[in-house]
Amino acid sequence: MLHLTPDIQEKLKTVLTAFDGDIEAVRQALEALSRERDQNQPVASSDAPVIVELQDVSRQYRLGRERVGAVVEVALKIRQGEIVAITGPSGSGKSTLLNLMGALDKPDSGHIAIGGQDVAGLSDRQLSKLRNQTIGFVFQFFYLQPFLDIRTNLAVPGMFAGLSQAERGRRIPELAAAVGLSDRLDHLPKELSGGQMQRAAIARALLNRPKLILADEPTGNIDRANARTIIELFKSIRERYGTTIVLVTHDMEVAHQADRIIKLRDGRILA
């Protein structure tokens, strides 16, 4: 469901009632409204600390003999507690941008700071620790371990963090309750629905209490009803843990649930 301010709603009504068959005029009016809406989206707090900062970040990929700019001179800041949606057509660089934010990929130029720490020059071990402690990843295809029950799946990031068994024993039931899977902890992933699997993946991402969740098409592989649930879950997580959430999505309905939408085209952020 769209959440528009009364002012925007009024302007939209004016545009729609004034429609005289000129489609291009309506499209431009709607885009202007959209930009106005995005700029007016409520952010967590303008003085909240910046959790992710990209400065003129570019990343190219080799496609045959040519080098293609997946991300071109992107600069952005994401503050703590924000829910930010990255949208754009296929090949616009959404996932690449997400991976750069997640320190899974390194830029060809520019600087990336996560949690105030410049990721350039970090060793594999330091990067792994950063991903493990500061970032939680959620994937379109969930990527749960098929032969481990949900309880053990949720524990995986804790394994790499050296989280004690006792601490895992405390956190996992709490997270399972938060995502509504308390009764599914001893089940295998194949015994869960798509929505449940994605909720399990979100709980897994939260185990090490990261400041930032990066979700790549988190609703791309589930039905609309479950998609709404996932978005609501992200919101409640933000409220509960103060977690910053960046999600990549094609789904504008999902994107509009975010505090802010960043649109990409050809690797660039649209103004």
């Binding site: 594999d124 990527y143 032969f147």
Partner: protein, 637 residues
């Protein structure tokens, strides 16, 4: 860094993928290593079993068998040849005088000569004719008596030596002093002798081996092979103690030989029966010298001629006809003598002439008695070809004495007939004899061989040349497994090479599976990397997986190898036990020879190599995997 428990949790999940490929890998690798496990179990078991036989036979005694060289250069020595010719001239002079005195025809030109012409690379030269009495006398006069023996004794007495023993083939000396025959007499009938002990002419080959394989040893060498309480000493005139092959003992006891398929318990019962029944059994052997054999040949020839000329009325029988006695071991008698007085007189003169110059020319037939004091393995080897695994395994469980009949040397010397018959000039100067030096331990035995073995036998007269440098042809002797022990370093080396080859093969086999598992796990690796796993964490998980896989292969190998070894134990232990009891003359018939023995060191070594094979198999795919860009793998997904 990921903990061990978590590592195990994640590694175990990988065992649940690609199960068919995993199963094939485990079976193939397991089978390869199972062969090593089985080999280790059987080798260790056999060595332990040999130890269990302790002081039976010569199992724990350390002998060096030294061959005293034939000094063939004596035969070419001009001094020896000169002396032999001198003796021959003197002999011929006496023979010529005696011939004239007795009226016997004697031609100096056709008289036996002490030398013969031999061709050496187209060059003619003279050499002593060793069978000629003049040549033999020259040797006895001039050749150093027991020179090599004394040298060897001197060498070994300074080296912690315990005993020196000698052995000789009685038959060898008998042949040197002229053909004779030794024929066992059983139930009043002589057993036809054999020319070849390995291809006997009598029905079962058990007794005909006597004449050709009779060997004389010092008492100390034979004592371990006697029955409990038996003595090898005998007074002059008493029966000679003898150790008989078991098949001959069965024949003497008129027992039907056991079939080849006889079980171990049947063989054990038979050995018990033989040992009990054969003790102190007397055996008669008929001795005939060459002159007696010549007369017997004439008697047999006459019988043959009778048949051949049955309808030939022109055939004229000889004037003097010999006939074999119907009784065993009796001299050939005269059946008819139609010679005239002059012929008889000439024959008497001829006989007197021969007796003067050749004392052994008189026909002699006599019985010699033997008393059985021990049982040895079969003398005939024709039925013991190691065509089966059991036969092969048992081939090293042979008596140190080897196949044959054995008598103590003092008893041979105390029996006038044998002593006279077995005297030989070569024996007197100890050429070609065997000497046994006993050492207190294996190290001193080995050291002596290393110091004094004659190794370069390629040149002519090599043994004589070696002897001048106090070196002789020698071998370890006694412990039947000494060769195996000596081969141990080589066996160990080849075993290690085999382990390496098996490990390499196994690594290749495992690489297929592990490589596939790791390749399949690229997506998972990307996810783990996104969830915070370092490259080290990923490596740890796969190393753990590899170790589990290798451990499962090892467990499979141990189970399979142990099963194989247990099968061999069940199949062959009983037969080997009885063969070992017989070969080593164990008094305890129930002593067992087991084929399974566990050596923890071997098992750990094999396990180590299984692990190394697994890690080698995992190394390349794992290195490739952790170096990959996780983003790329996720994008491909």
């Amino acid at each position: 860094m990921i903990g061990l428990r978590d590592c195990l949790t994640l590694a175990l999940t990988k065992l649940r993928t690609r199960r068919i490929r995993l199963g094939i890998t485990l079976v193939v690798s397991g089978v390869l290593f199972a062969a090593l496990v089985a080999a280790s179990l059987v080798i260790r078991g056999s060595l332990t079993s040999i130890d269990n036989f302790g002081n039976d036979g010569l199992v724990k005694r350390f002998f060096v068998q030294i061959m005293l060289p034939y000094h063939v250069e004596y035969y070419d020595d001009t001094d020896y040849i000169g002396r032999a010719l001198e003796i021959a001239r003197e002999r011929n002079k006496q023979q010529d005088a005696a011939a004239k005195r007795l009226g016997v025809a004697f031609d100096l030109k056709t008289a036996p000569q002490p030398t013969m012409q031999i061709s050496d690379g187209g060059k003619e030269r003279q050499q002593l004719s060793i069978l000629d009495p003049a040549a033999q006398q020259a040797l006895l006069e001039l050749a150093p008596r027991q020179a090599a023996y004394k040298d060897v004794a001197k060498l070994i007495h300074g080296q912690g030596l315990r005993e020196v023993h000698t052995s000789q083939f009685v038959s060898q000396n008998l042949l040197e002093s002229g053909a004779i025959e030794l024929t066992p007499v059983v139930n009043g009938a002589e057993v036809k002798p054999s020319d070849n002990p390995f291809s006997p002419t009598d029905k079962d080959g058990s007794l005909s081996t006597f004449g050709m394989t009779l060997q004389a040893y010092d008492e100390q060498m034979l004592q371990p092979f006697t029955l409990p309480g038996e003595s090898l000493t005998s007074a002059s005139g008493d029966p000679i103690p003898v150790i008989v092959p078991i098949d001959a003992a069965e024949r003497l006891l008129t027992l039907k030989p056991l079939p080849d398929t006889a079980s171990a318990s049947q063989q054990r019962a038979r050995l018990q029966e033989v040992r009990t029944g054969i003790r102190d059994r007397l055996m008669t052997v008929c001795y005939r010298n060459q002159a007696e054999l010549d007369r017997r040949a004439l008697a047999r020839q006459y019988q043959q001629d009778l048949v051949t000329h049955k309808s030939d009325k022109t055939w004229v029988p000889p004037e003097l006809i010999y006939a074999e006695s119907r009784q065993s071991c009796q001299p050939v008698g005269v059946q008819s003598d139609k010679r005239n007085a002059e012929s008889k007189k000439a024959a008497v003169a001829e006989e007197q002439f021969m007796r003067e110059f050749s004392p052994k020319a008189a026909p002699l037939v006599s019985t010699i008695s033997f008393r059985v004091v021990g049982v040895a393995p079969k003398a005939s080897m024709t039925a013991e070809q190691p065509s089966t695994l059991g036969g092969l395994a048992s081939s090293f469980l042979t008596s140190s004495l080897g196949p044959g009949w054995f008598v103590p040397t003092p008893s041979v010397n105390s029996q006038p007939l044998l002593r006279q018959a077995t005297f030989s000039p070569l024996g007197a100067i100890m050429e070609g004899s065997m000497v046994y030096a006993e050492f207190p331990d294996r190290a001193s035995q080995r050291a002596f061989i290393d110091a004094h073995n004659c190794t370069d036998l390629s040149s002519p007269n090599a043994q004589s040349t070696c002897a001048k440098k106090h070196r002789y042809v020698m071998h370890q002797y006694g412990n039947p497994l000494a060769t195996l022990y000596d081969a141990a370093p080589v066996v160990t080396k080849w075993f290690q090479v085999l382990v390496l080859v098996v490990a390499a093969l196994s690594a290749v086999v495992m690489m297929g599976t592990i490589g596939k598992i790791i390749a399949d796990g690229r997506k998972e690796t990307s996810v783990f990397r996104a969830l915070g796993a370092s490259r080290l964490d990923i490596t740890a998980v796969y190393v753990f997986y590899t170790l589990i896989l290798a451990s499962l292969a090892f467990v499979f190998a141990v189970v399979l190898g142990a099963t194989l070894a247990a099968y061999m134990e069940t199949r062959y232990s009983g037969v080997l036990s009885i063969q070992a009891v017989m070969a080593f003359n164990s008094s305890d018939l129930n002593k067992s020879f087991h084929l399974v023995g566990v050596n923890i060191g071997d098992m750990l070594l094999i396990y180590l190599f299984v692990l190394v094979a697994g890690l080698l198999a995992a190394a390349a795919p794992l290195l490739l995997n952790i170096r990959r860009n996780p983003i790329k793998d996720m994008r491909e997904e």
